[in-house]
């Protein structure tokens, strides 16, 4: 913990603006059992960087987001923001952090109070932090509306007069009100139409470029996350299973789950009736977790060792981490592909180097 006399000592990795160190979050399930939502994840987002956290339901990705915002209390590990350990700060101490770390939620229909005018919605964080006079607040609201591409008279309307995409823009405007340096977007476009998703994604990207924000984006759509992120972390059952630069993770996936997820994502390209790796069985329960490697019951290449010993998250190259006993063995993914005779998704061909042709 840092002292609060004079100069405060920085903790954690200096590179990262927002960081989680061995974060662990458990809930109590009905029947008194423990629900292991998040089991030891470490991640970091640098300023002006976009990190994508991807996984299916039960992966714990949303819990990570909410815990970073201190909406949940972690059972273990720490949360570090701008060199300061914020894991156990109380409500009052968190206020300066809340100015700089903000969140955009998934459902634009319930994240805005339907009885409030847009002006009131956007100025809520401003008022909570005593931003200034009413005139200053109104000016800021107008400025924010313009930044997200909405007309100034939107401020006088209510959310029900706007479409889902527009409401999401309002939510983004609200989260930017206090000029945060880091933004967490939890499934920001999942409930929107496909043609609108691109609008919001582009908006987030533009804003990040202009305002130099660190962006952590949570999503279940791997293609979307690949499109917008610099780095990707793939989660399964509360743990990170693979991490690395986006193109690397998608182009040369090292974990069987990543391969399966990649293969399972439908892509609107011809030749779509390619064979794919189809995982058997259901997504596991965070209450009753398998022994050994958590993925082994569904893994197409699971061996005896996998059922008993849990593979650690190993750094096989700078910035490249995988938790699989076959990690880093460049043959493994090729075996996977060969095993199921699965052609690579389009665009991924380019990443393969000639020396690695099968």
């Amino acid at each position: 913990m840092t002292e609060t006399t004079g100069a405060t000592e920085r903790v954690g990795n200096d590179e990262f603006l927002l960081e989680a160190e061995s974060l662990k979050v458990t809930f109590r399930a009905p029947g008194g059992r423990k629900l292991h939502a998040v089991d030891e994840i470490s991640l970091g987002v640098r300023p002006r960087e976009t990190v994508g956290l991807v996984g299916e339901s039960g992966s714990g990705k949303s819990t990570v987001a909410l815990t970073l915002m201190r909406a949940h209390e972690p059972e273990g590990g720490r949360i570090i923001f701008d060199g300061q350990d914020i894991t156990h700060l109380n409500y009052k101490e968190l206020m300066p952090v809340r100015r700089r770390l903000q969140m955009v939620f998934q459902d634009p229909y319930s994240s805005l109070d339907p009885r409030w005018s847009i002006r009131r919605v956007i100025s809520e964080p401003l008022k909570a932090h005593k931003f200034g006079t009413r005139q200053q607040i109104n000016d800021r609201v107008a400025e924010l509306l313009e930044q997200v591409g909405l007309p100034p008279d939107a401020a006088n309307r209510v959310p029900s007069q706007f479409s889902g995409g527009q409401r999401q823009r309002i939510a983004v405007a609200r989260s930017l009100a206090l000029q945060p340096s880091a933004l967490i977007a939890d499934e920001p476009v999942s409930s929107l139409d496909v043609s609108i998703q691109a609008q919001i994604i582009n908006l987030l990207r533009d804003l990040q470029d202009r305002l130099h924000i660190a962006l952590l984006i949570i999503a279940h759509d791997l293609a979307l996350v690949h499109q917008i992120s610099d780095r990707i972390i793939v989660m399964y059952l509360g743990e990170p299973v693979e991490e690395g630069p986006s193109d690397e993770v998608v182009g040369r996936p090292q974990h069987p789950y990543t391969v399966a997820l990649l293969s399972a994502t439908p892509v609107p390209e011809p030749g779509g009736d390619r064979k794919r790796i189809v995982l058997t069985g259901d997504p596991p329960s965070p209450i009753f977790r398998p022994n050994g490697c958590r993925f082994h019951p569904r893994c197409p290449i699971a061996q005896d060792r996998c059922k008993v010993e849990k593979p650690p998250l190993k750094e096989i190259a700078p910035g490249r981490k995988v938790s699989c006993w076959f990690a880093g063995q460049l043959d493994a993914p090729r075996d996977l592909w060969a095993l199921k005779d699965v052609p690579l998704p389009p665009g991924v061909e380019a990443a393969r180097r000639p020396s690695e042709s099968v």
Binding site: M69, R70, A71, Y91, L94, M95, R98, R99, Q102, M103, F105, D107, S110, S111, L112, D113, P114, R115, E124, P125, A128, H129, G149, L150, P151, D153, A154, R157, V158, S160, Q161, F162, S163, G165, Q166, R169, A171, R174, Q199, N202, L203, D206
Partner: protein, 297 residues
């Protein structure tokens, strides 16, 4: 930069009819209630103070009887010769006042406790819920008796007693609804911006509770009116001479066989008031349903 075009949908206000509030019940209820209020005002403006005095020569006269001074007693006179209609009007401030004050207490206390129970978890919530349950278990009548015995009768003892005991039903409803409202994502968003819990409760949750509170207030008003009348009827409420409707009913019991009309006036007044309040409550409920449909789209 991508720009979006705002749709030109009209603001989602529920449309007012040419006349009226959009709900038949509410209109009727307000109308009846207005009649009551007008009558209330009328007694001070139109009628003579002295009409409340009794004239023993014209006691127990039936409805429509015209007294020697030319005054027509529409509802007859009571055992002291007092005009019953005027007495009923005189009872208005009592009955409405007592129940009105009580309703306000009930609404404020019930809402506050419901909100506290909904927001906090753990030991605080347990205490609140146990407290509510304990309060429900208390016998209302016994408590009222005790209070009257200790403090005496009168306007304030009666209304505050009712107010401080009858809030339990409101608190439970508010508790349940608030819990629902607190799960909304905009509440989470506000918390994560650092908005204080009271700001959230007052500005996010309370507006959502307003229709419920209004509806409950209307119905409780009616219920408390009846309770007040019942207590007065039993002799526990308003002082003996006050023209409370309950008192008047109590008086009329003795003369039921010889002057049955004595009960018409107070009974009619109670029925009218209760019906209008119930209609108002129904009307609020219907309006809030309509509004909810427009808002939640």
């Amino acid at each position: 930069m991508t720009t979006a075009t705002a749709t030109d949908k009209p603001a989602p206000a529920f449309r007012f009819n040419k006349l009226g509030t959009g709900s038949l019940q509410l209109d009727l209820g307000l109308l009846l209630f207005a009649i009551i209020i007008i009558a209330l005002l009328a007694q001070w403006i139109v009628l003579d103070e002295s009409a409340l005095d009794g004239n023993l020569r014209t006691r127990l006269k039936p409805m429509g009887f015209v007294g020697p001074d030319g005054v027509r007693h529409l509802f007859g006179t009571d055992q002291l010769g007092r005009d019953l209609l005027f007495r009923v009007l005189g009872g208005l401030p009592w009955s409405l006042g007592i129940s009105g004050v009580a309703v306000i207490c009930v609404a404020v206390i019930g809402t506050f406790i419901g909100l506290v129970g909904a927001w906090y978890t753990g030991i605080v919530r347990t205490i609140v819920l146990l407290g509510i349950a304990a309060m429900i278990a208390m016998p209302f009548l016994v408590l009222a008796l005790v209070v009257v015995a200790v403090v005496g009768r009168g306007f304030w003892p009666l209304s505050l007693t009712m107010g401080f005991i009858a809030w339990t039903a409101v608190s439970r409803v508010i508790y349940a609804e608030s819990r629902g409202l607190l799960t909304r994502e905009y509440v989470l968003a506000a918390r994560l911006f650092g908005v204080s819990k009271w700001s959230i409760l007052i500005f996010h949750v309370l507006p959502g509770l307003r229709p419920t509170i209004l509806v409950m207030a209307a119905f409780f008003f009616a219920v408390l009116l009846i309770i007040e009348s019942a207590l007065s009827f039993l002799g526990l409420g308003a002082p003996l001479n006050a023209p409370s409707w309950g008192n008047m009913l109590s008086d009329s019991r003795q003369y039921l066989t010889i002057a049955p009309w004595m009960m018409f006036a107070p009974a009619g007044a109670i029925v009218l008031a209760v019906i209008s309040l119930n209609l108002i409550g129904d009307g609020f409920a219907e309006l809030s349903r309509k509004r909810a449909r427009a808002v939640e789209v």
